[in-house]
Amino acid sequence: MDDPLDKPYLDVPGTTVFDADQSRRGYWLNQFCMSLMKADNRERFRRDEAAYLDEWDMTDEQKQAVLDRDMNRMISLGGNIYFLAKIGATDGKSFQQMAASMTGVTEEEYRDMMVAGGRSPDGNRYTHEWDQRDAAAAGEHGS
């Protein structure tokens, strides 16, 4: 059997696997999201977001990430996409709009990419592939 504690998924770029560590970190952030499944709570959150967030045992960083609607930041702080989607639903956003917001392109560009067959796995399998790409891009800017 493989080592049950290894995490081979840590070298997949642009991807945060929601494991037990992330879940522990994000427990209250995700439970706050869950509360938005009730219409009353959505209404109270909309009325005063900061006050509603203060009812939850979340870190200041997590609260700020929610206020900023910074999905990538929320994920790095323990959020899971299916929970975070409740914030999107409260804002009237679709999964595709949320996904686009995490990739640094416009909603239209993202939709066009999907219609053209999606993001290819080529060059997107390992973190070193992204590191090399970023280094090359930085090199071009430097010259």
Partner: protein, 284 residues
């Protein structure tokens, strides 16, 4: 005569498909090719409506928050309401269960060393209702009872492919020991390649998906050895849902010494929103 499994059905369960159906968008150019791929399936299902569907799916932070995270949960209730996932409940009928068969399966499968969580009360989300809509259309009542079987594929580690295939074999033995002549279908849902989160969102891997369909049909035991990281790397972080297809596949006769299944229908399409859509019907 005891109960038997007549067929297995596999399909993606993308929420946007439910929205397109509910809002009457199925003829729009974006959606038409997708729904065309299910036309055969709807007529096949109308001709082969079973007594019960055993429906393997995952909950998407709907019935299960982070308070309790069961790996395998069987719905033993008489009725399951359609959940409000934040956009309001889908306008589809509630799901009628089959508590007698579900309780029998729970008893048998737990005795075969799979630790199922028994759930008498839960709402069901798009993971369960979108496959029903794709196969049954838009009836005022679903045409047969459904046993919901929820698998954790959200919170890692999720069950391995090997364990899912073996669970399917245990479910087949459980169904075949039920002393009533019921025609049962088992459905595996979710997938195919997709990633909804992070800067790599939008990943699609058609080559992986097509090979998965080939192997699911002809080499399921080998396919079940695929490690989780291969799904994540090749098919996206949410592509891991595909392990659920192995539960349905494990319940087919050939994995209990019977003949290989017949492929009645196969379909693949990109995209539905963020996701590659795959679909198979296998008959025993």
């Amino acid at each position: 005569m005891n109960a038997h499994i007549s067929a297995s059905v596999y399909t993606s369960h993308v929420p946007a498909i439910g929205v397109a159906l509910d809002l009457g968008k199925t003829d729009e150019p974006y959606w038409q090719p997708l729904f065309a791929g299910y036309e055969f399936s709807k007529s096949w299902f109308a001709e082969h409506t079973p007594d019960v569907v055993f429906l393997v799916y995952n909950d998407h932070a709907t019935a299960f928050s982070l308070e309790v995270i069961p790996t395998f949960a069987i719905g033993t209730g008489a009725r399951f309401a359609v959940a409000d996932e934040g956009w309001g409940p889908r306008p589809v009928p509630d799901v009628v269960g089959h508590p007698e068969l579900a309780a029998h399966i729970a008893h048998s499968v737990i005795r075969q060393d799979f630790d199922l969580t028994i759930v008498n009360q839960m709402d069901v989300d798009h993971g369960l209702t979108v496959p029903l809509s794709l196969m049954c259309g838009q009836p005022s009542e679903w045409p047969c009872p459904v046993i919901p079987f929820a698998v954790n594929v959200v919170h890692y580690p999720v069950p391995s492919g090997r364990r899912c295939l073996a669970l399917g074999q245990a479910i087949r033995r459980a169904i075949e020991s039920y002393p009533d002549d019921l025609d049962v279908q088992i459905w595996g849902t979710g997938g195919m390649s997709h990633q909804l989160q992070g800067p790599r969102a939008g990943l699609i891997n058609s080559e992986f998906d097509r090979a998965f369909l080939d192997d699911l049909i002809a080499a399921p035991t080998e396919l079940a050895e695929k490690p989780h990281v291969d799904y994540v790397r090749e098919a996206g972080s949410e592509g891991i849902e595909l392990v659920m297809w192995l539960i349905a596949r494990g319940a087919m006769a050939d994995l209990g010494g019977g003949p290989p299944p017949t492929v009645r229908h196969r379909f693949y399409h990109v995209p539905a929103s963020n996701t590659a859509v795959g679909h198979l019907i296998l008959e025993n």
